[in-house]
């Protein structure tokens, strides 16, 4: 749109259709209007929002409290979003359109918090810190989905894999009293399920949604069965050790960012590590190119000598590994014991994050953090005495995904050969 220095093809791919440019601009302007009409108008000018900027129980990277004049802050936020909206309407952000929609959404959430906590105090850092934790299973679920779908296999069994992994991790962790072996156990069980999914979808060419459903029903039944038969009668089987906080030297001392990102348990670091590995491996290596080519056009890939079947098995097994880590998070990184159905749909939100993130690792992390933040706000709403039911906050990820799928925020770029079994001729 603006000064394009790249090749012409680049310009074409990232061009934003006029109707979308208009739609996004209107949406952003509407957000500004909402902030102004609902939040600003209902705040008296003498109120102050007090944000505590250090999560509870942390003594590294502490920071003083932030006292914001509620009305002024809201006005600034509204003006900022309005500026984004107007710029989008007049000039357009081009490639950055989706990012700016995300920024506007973030401003809306911030404004909402400032408004809700006007005249009160809110531990913002604590909320962000728990948002990061809540984002872990969602983001890992999304990564698991990316690995499967980039090589052409629809994986709706992430939820089932995570549930099974969370139970196995709890049992393995309790038996060995070693968190790492617990994590390995979780990964192992998820990989087993991934293999079943792979064999059904690749070898037997079963419809991939049905094979995913098989895994999900099986996991729900099996975990409930084992939980009732053993975990509830033998408590020693359900007392794993947990991964504790590991502050990263120096980084953990940075105010605000340190406690939120660098003073967490190993799962948060794993999430970032997998993000970097995945982003590099998928888009900078030959391995990634091959994996993606199998997902986009298996026949062409086969013609070029890439083993489609093998690549797909590899993709689905790696998908299982990542889902296993995500599942183990529930028992070893968050709760410390297994409860029936404890994944509570996080695998499906992961799927949503994957779609919102446009099948890209970095985008999925952004979506995962956004959904985690929505989750964190939802759980704090009642404490703030909000009139908005927390359930509505919990619906947000699903609604956003449907809106994305409908093409209101730009068409997603799903791998082209997704869902099709490959038949060698």
């Amino acid at each position: 749109m603006t000064t394009t220095t790249g090749v012409i093809e680049h310009k074409r791919i990232h061009e934003v259709s006029p109707s979308r440019k208009l739609g996004m601009g209107i949406a952003e302007t509407l957000i500004a209007v909402v902030i102004f009409l609902v939040f600003v108008q209902n705040t008296t000018s003498d109120l102050i929002t007090r944000f505590v900027m250090t999560p509870g129980g942390i003594n590294q990277g502490t920071m003083g409290e932030l006292n914001l004049p509620s009305k002024l802050t809201l006005l600034i936020l509204a003006a900022f979003v309005l500026a984004i909206g107007l710029f989008q309407l007049i000039k357009g952000f081009g490639r950055q359109t989706n990012l700016m929609v995300g920024v506007a959404g973030l401003c809306l959430m911030l404004a909402f918090l400032v408004w809700q906590a006007a005249g009160k105090s809110l531990n913002l850092a604590g909320m962000l810190s728990s948002a990061v934790l809540l984002a872990v299973p969602i983001t890992l679920g999304a990564f698991s989905g990316i690995l499967a779908e980039r090589c052409g296999i629809i994986n709706i069994a992430i939820e089932g894999m995570m549930l099974m992994a969370s139970m196995t991790a709890a049992i393995a962790g309790s038996l060995t009293q070693n968190v790492w072996l617990g994590l390995l156990g979780g990964i192992f069980s998820a990989v087993l399920l991934a293999l079943i999914l792979g064999v059904l979808s690749i070898k037997y060419k079963v419809n991939q949604t049905i094979s995913g459903t098989v895994i999900n029903i099986f996991s729900t039944g099996m975990t409930a069965f084992i939980s009732q038969k053993f975990l509830q009668t033998i408590p020693a089987l359900n007392q794993p050790k947990m991964f504790t906080r590991v502050p990263i030297p120096l980084l953990a001392d940075i105010p605000l960012v340190g406690p939120i990102l660098f003073n967490q348990n190993i799962f948060v670091y794993l999430m970032f590590a997998i993000l970097i590995i995945l982003q590099l491996a998928l888009f900078q290596t030959r391995w990634g190119l091959r994996l993606r080519s199998v997902g986009e056009h298996p026949k062409a890939a086969d013609t070029l000598g890439i083993n489609v079947i093998k690549t797909r098995y590899m993709g689905i097994i790696l998908s299982g590994v990542v889902a296993g880590i995500g599942g183990a998070f529930f028992t070893l990184g968050s709760v410390g014991r297994f409860d029936e159905g404890m994944t509570a749909g996080k695998g499906f939100i992961g799927l949503a994050a994957m779609i919102f993130g446009n099948w890209m690792p970095l985008g999925s992390l952004g979506a995962g953090l956004l959904f985690g933040f929505a989750d964190a706000i939802g759980s704090k709403l009642s404490l703030l005495g909000s009139v908005i039911p927390p359930q509505f906050m919990a619906m947000a990820p699903y609604l956003i995904t449907m809106i994305v799928l409908a093409g209101f925020i730009g068409k997603g770029q799903a791998p082209a050969a997704e869902g099709e079994a490959y038949e060698k001729e």
Binding site: I154, I156, L200, Y204, K205, V206, N207, Q208, T209, I210, S211, T213, V214, I215, N216, I217, F218, T220, G221, M222, A224, F225, I226, Q228, K229, F230, G345, F348, I349, L351, A352, I355, P389, Q391, F392, A394, M395, Y398, L399, T401, M402, L405, A406, G407, K411, G412, Q413, A414, P415, A416, A417, E418, G419, E420
Partner: protein, 424 residues
């Protein structure tokens, strides 16, 4: 007019399937068609038995003594469990015979109650299974039956308790239809999105499921909550006039809804196989491209198929509320929506097949309750067995290789589905 349309559609179907199947041709694969589901069920039960034996501590202890003791212990445990499963779901034959000989009406009713209870359990399965089957026939994968069921149940509950003073013959059907309408509306949204924007119904219905769960959670703890429920998410009791009548006194829950289910199944069969609408649905379902070339309105067909499927799912929720529960709580469904995918596939997406598979699953679930009491085997084993049966039905090649069946000349019809990015 409609006669002409039908001919075009039939011509297309013939084009797709080759020539019109004649009576003789249909007869032979029929046995083959039933063989896979039957063997899948058998294998599922065998694997369930293995699971029972493997997870039993007494069996392990017996194996510690000697191999033979272990085997016999495993055998007795499995037999006890499965005996409980079948007497729990079909009744104790000895008791039934004695009751019949005694001639005491009450005793007879109690003796056959397990069978009746199995029918009660099968009723929502029939509706939900029909919902998925109708979707599959229209080329749609409705994985959102669970959510549609919840919305349908909520609508039926609301009409059931909020309206007073209506005679039963109006109130009851009204509440039931409200449930159907709720489910239909909930399924129409993904149908509309698929038809107009290409957003895939699988992902959209999954998302709609979770929105439905959160919505009902909010409804039951907010606007629709029972006064003095102590903060529990629970709706008020529905009016007596809205209740679907049960045939016998209290412990026996057998109700009219079962027969409504059978009638609805017949209606679905009639719609799918005897009307132009049904033909259009099926044509779009088998080959959307050919249907488009023949001038059929695929967008309309997608929306219609989805809406009807949702209506059936809504009925499943409504019948549970109006006939059995009489008020709505969050634990309304034991996964009917997901089980129904298995039901539809085992029943080959045919209403008769769906009824049969629903009866089977209703029986299993009912019997599992008794099995839990007798052998302390968690009821969730039914889910495991269901998943295994679904797997075998979806991948008949596995069953064929286990039982050395010959491969049929014609490849099984695959359910139409491609990626969900919305490219069409």
């Amino acid at each position: 007019m409609s006669e002409e349309k039908k001919d075009i559609g039939q011509a297309i179907l013939n084009e797709i399937h080759g020539t019109e199947p004649t009576e003789e041709k249909q007869k032979k694969p029929f046995l083959g068609k039933a063989a896979i589901p039957l063997l899948a069920i058998l294998t599922g039960l065998i694997i369930g038995a293995i699971l029972i034996a493997v997870t039993s501590q007494t069996v392990w202890a017996a194996f510690g003594d000697s191999f033979g003791k272990g085997l016999s212990q495993a055998w007795t445990e499995v037999i006890t469990a499965y005996k409980a499963l079948f007497t729990g779901s079909l009744g104790d034959p000895v008791r039934i015979v004695e009751a019949l000989r005694g001639g005491d009406a009450k005793e007879i009713r109690q003796a056959v109650n397990p069978i009746l209870e199995s029918l009660v359990q099968a009723t929502p399965y029939i509706f939900a299974g029909l919902a998925v089957a109708l979707g599959f026939r229209s080329g749609l994968f409705n994985i959102g039956v669970e959510g549609q069921l919840f919305i349908g149940a909520a609508c039926a509950t609301f009409v059931g308790y909020s309206i007073t003073g209506l005679p039963a013959y109006i109130h009851m059907p009204l509440a039931f239809l409200a449930g159907a309408a709720g489910g239909a509306f909930w399924a129409f949204i993904p149908g509309f999105l698929k038809a107009k924007t290409g957003g895939h119904e699988v992902i959209n219905t999954i998302m709609m499921n979770w929105i439905a769960f959160r919505l009902t959670e909010w409804l039951l703890s907010g606007p629709m909550t029972r006064p003095n429920s102590g903060g529990l998410p629970l709706s008020p009791m529905i009016q007596d006039t809205a209740k679907i009548p049960q045939f016998f006194e209290s412990p026996i829950r057998f109700h009219l809804g079962f027969f409504i289910a059978l009638i609805v199944a017949w209606l679905v069969w009639w719609l799918l196989f005897k009307t132009t609408w049904g033909l259009n649905l099926r044509t779009v379902g088998t080959n959307p491209r050919a249907a488009r070339y023949a001038g059929l309105d695929t967008a309309k067909s997608i929306m219609l198929g989805m809406t009807l499927s949702g209506a059936l799912a809504g009925m499943a929720g409504a019948v549970q509320i109006l006939a059995v529960n009489h008020s709505m709580a969050l634990g309304l469904s034991s996964g009917y929506g997901f089980d129904s995918i298995a039901l539809a596939l085992i029943g080959n997406n045919h209403p008769v097949g769906v009824i049969l598979s629903s009866l089977l699953f209703g029986t299993l679930r009912n019997g599992a309750t008794r099995m839990m009491v007798v052998s302390s085997i968690p009821i969730d084993i039914v889910d495991v067995i269901q998943a295994i049966i679904l797997m075998f039905v979806a991948a008949p090649a596995i069953i064929r290789s286990i039982y050395r069946l010959r491969k049929p000349k014609q490849e099984e019809q695959q359910v139409f589905l491609s990626g969900w990015g919305g490219q069409s």
